[in-house]
Subunit: 221 residues, 2 copies
């Protein structure tokens, strides 16, 4: 049955279910993102995804065609959710350096709180962006992220606190690299250097300061 949130599922097969296409789609996508991010594209099992949804395996195919289509839609949904989160951030009242500080902190925390998303992006890179290439939706979303940074840089440049030769895209790259790697490689880094404490709460706060500082040292005049 589609959406029996709490009550015990009726025993007799196929009794009293409600049609709810939207909820079913979302439920599938949420679970798909979970499972793909846990096991990679090929490692993820359609059966496993189906089992964790509240609907049947057949519905995955009904709505998304095949495994690859399901993965692509999960990726899209993930990007969308992440971008929506970023819109909440309000930087207009702040001085350029405070705005930059806040942006970096936000990105750092945001990535840390969304490891599933990070893992999907890793998977996509391993598969050479095959699914991303097919999705027009995703590309359109991301370029606005640069615009915000450009604005901060311009203001800082005008008021003399920032260097004048810093490109927004390059700076975004640096911020992204540091915040992304912190999540993407924590397993191997932690194992290789016996540095588990770097990824516990205290170590994470320390490193967030490190990252903010590194970015600001790069742009300050």
């Amino acid at each position: 049955m589609a959406r029996e949130t709490q009550e015990a599922a009726p025993k007799g097969r196929r009794s009293g279910w409600k049609q709810n296409p939207e909820a079913v789609r979302e439920n599938i996508l949420r679970v798909a993102r979970e499972v793909f991010s846990e096991a990679g594209f090929s490692g993820a099992r359609v059966d496993e995804i189906a089992a964790r949804t509240e609907t049947s395996k057949r519905m995955l195919y009904y709505y998304f065609g095949d495994k690859e289509g399901l993965y692509r839609h999960a990726l899209e949904a993930s990007y969308r959710e992440v971008r929506e989160g970023e819109h909440e951030l309000d930087l207009v009242g702040l001085s350029p350096d405070d705005a930059l500080r806040k942006l970096v902190e936000f990105t750092y925390d945001h990535h840390r709180r969304n490891p599933e998303f990070i893992r999907l992006v890793m998977i996509e890179n391993i598969h050479n962006g095959a699914s991303l290439a097919q999705s027009k939706v995703i590309k359109d979303m991301n370029k606005t992220a640069i615009a915000g940074l450009e604005d901060i840089l311009a203001r800082g440049r005008d008021s003399g606190v920032f260097r004048s030769d810093i490109k927004a895209l390059a700076l975004h790259w640096q911020i992204s690299a540091l915040c992304f790697y912190n999540v993407s490689n924590r397993i191997t880094f932690s194992a290789l250097f016996s540095a588990a404490e770097m990824f516990e709460e205290e170590g994470q706060i320390e490193r967030r300061d490190w990252v903010v500082d590194a970015v600001l040292r790069k742009v300050l005049a």
Copy 2:
């Protein structure tokens, strides 16, 4: 046949081959690394690996037990090769800041020239380091990398050019993050921001300078 480097393979099956376990093992590992890095652990096909070797599928099992064992050995071999490359670097004659500059440049170039290795590490992270955890060999290799950096930092600190509060492990983390991300995420970054030129030769040199500069600004007093 095992190792017929140049000559045309004799037609008649099973004629004039040499026993060469070492070479066969290495050949298998090289191909395995290739294929795993292309497709991920589950995406890689044992048949595909076998087909690309100069030996038969049976030998993969003969030497490495099963798919997971093969993957683990390929990962180990990769780490070993990379570490050996790093030993060639000679920093003793240089001033602390020049040594650091050279180390960062080396790491940047090194990662860039070994995308297969980077991809294996990505895959390992997606699989939560399951294979790395089982390999005692790998862990022992990596801690020496920190020692070299510690030495540079100490010298710089003593001569007053470096800050005194920089931890080697944290700095290594930053260097690693920037150099790793440059390779690991080039596909998605390039696609998302239509920034293919950042990953062509010229753009790469530019960004190497950026990375070196970012690291030095972080440590200089």
